[in-house]
Amino acid sequence: MAGQSGTGTSATRRLGVLVIFLLATLALCGLWFSAEDVVQGSTVRIMYIHVPSIWTAYIAFGLTALCSGVYLSGKNRSLAWDRVAGASGEIGVLFVAVSLITGSMWGRLTWGTYWVWDARLTSTAFLFITYVGYLAVRQLGGTHRQRARRSSVLALLAILEIPLVHFSVTLWRSLHQEASVANPNAKVELDGLMLFSLFLGLVAFTLLFVWLVLHRQRGMMLEDAFSDRGLDVAITARRNEAGA
């Protein structure tokens, strides 16, 4: 780490440039080139952010669970797994927030209301709060190992909790329009450029996520190293005091 400033490497810089290019193309395709929807008009353009952000959030929470599982099961428990889990969790929370905000903006324009008590919306809100709780547990303090252990178990519990919440909320009520692309029985109703923009969004956001996680977990590694060093420095200072 010595001599390196920041959390980037040449590889992440290249990835960053690619992400900027893809996001710029997405903005052009989404806002300019793609046509308005017959029914929804220009509000359909929110979809190019909304769908990729919830997609990214699912990937993020999946990665958090995966890394937590690896951390708990491994014989050599490397804290790197925990840091990737944590970084991924943080960024997942960010993207769920983006998808909730863009979703309620779309809802206001299309349904005339910011929020409806629909099953998918409600369980997404729970997803958000559950991982805010996960991040709060990461901030509890204690040693890095304690943090890793606690938050890994919690991430796995969340995997148990989320389907249950989703299932019970679905039983409670369901109005959300069927997913129109992921449903194999339905005809895909999007025209070529709209579909292209949507998939471009998925790719761009996924790469953005990878880029953010790489930087964030390196940032966390530096934070951990800093707090370890801080402790060492303090111990040395006390020893010197005692010796003097």
Binding site: R149, L157, L160, F167, S168, L171, W172
Partner: protein, 232 residues
């Protein structure tokens, strides 16, 4: 192996008995938590201020009051452990953490069950709820199954938040989203038992099924995860 099994059961019983004895001697549940729950029920009546609405939403209010009171009871259950390092002492003694979980969860379930019975009685008295015999039986089954779920999750997250800075504020953030399925399931089942909103008793049983799934999953998860969560 069977010896270890008996040993675990004895540990669980001992822990549960210890918690209930502490409760019996301090009377916190009776003197503080139950009056708190009762005042919450009265405040709901002030806020809603309409007999018809109260009767309609009585089941939800019973369970909301249960969840709020549960936060207090769970805090209390782990304050007695972390105050003088009792949990650390048990850990040092090599006591099985799964058995401690079961013991503490049982003690919590007993307290919650008493509280819920009191809340249902309050709803009958204050909100004018009337039940048939079949409805009463369904209400009791709902209370039992929901309590097993709540006791398991409460003990699990209570143990996690115990001994941490800012745990008073952390516990609701972790616990309330996790128990949302219980609130949904138990409220619907209790509605059926109370007959609120024209529901019939038979409509409640599928919701009790949901509560049962929750109870089984989280009591199993708790036994496995409690040790790693409070460890170190």
């Amino acid at each position: 192996m069977s010896g270890a099994g008996i040993n675990k059961r004895r540990i669980a019983v001992a822990v549960a008995r210890k918690d209930l004895t502490i409760e019996w001697n301090s009377r916190i549940l009776v003197n503080q938590v139950a009056p708190f729950a009762a005042i919450v029920m009265v405040l709901f009546a002030f806020a809603l201020d309409n007999d018809g609405i109260l009767l309609r939403v009585a089941p939800g209010l019973v369970w909301l009051a249960t969840l709020f009171s549960m936060l207090v009871v769970v805090q209390r259950s782990f304050t007695v452990e972390s105050a003088d390092g009792a949990l650390d002492a048990l850990r040092v003694a090599g006591v099985d953490m799964g058995a401690i979980f079961v013991g503490k969860a049982i003690a919590l379930m007993v307290q919650l069950f008493v509280l819920e019975l009191m809340l249902v009685a309050t709803a009958v008295v204050l909100y004018g709820v009337e039940m048939t015999l079949a409805g009463f039986c369904e209400a009791i089954v709902t209370l039992v199954v929901a309590t097993i779920g709540l006791g398991s999750v409460g003990t699990l997250y209570g143990g996690l938040a115990a001994g941490a800075r800012g745990r008073e504020t952390l516990l609701p953030l972790l616990l309330l989203p996790a128990v949302a399925p219980v609130l949904i399931g138990a409220t619907r089942a209790t509605e059926a038992a109370f007959g609120s909103g024209g529901t019939t008793v038979s409509e409640g049983w599928p919701w009790i099924g949901l509560l049962l799934v929750f109870a089984v999953l989280f009591s199993a998860a708790g036994t496995v995860a409690f040790g790693p969560l409070v460890d170190e």
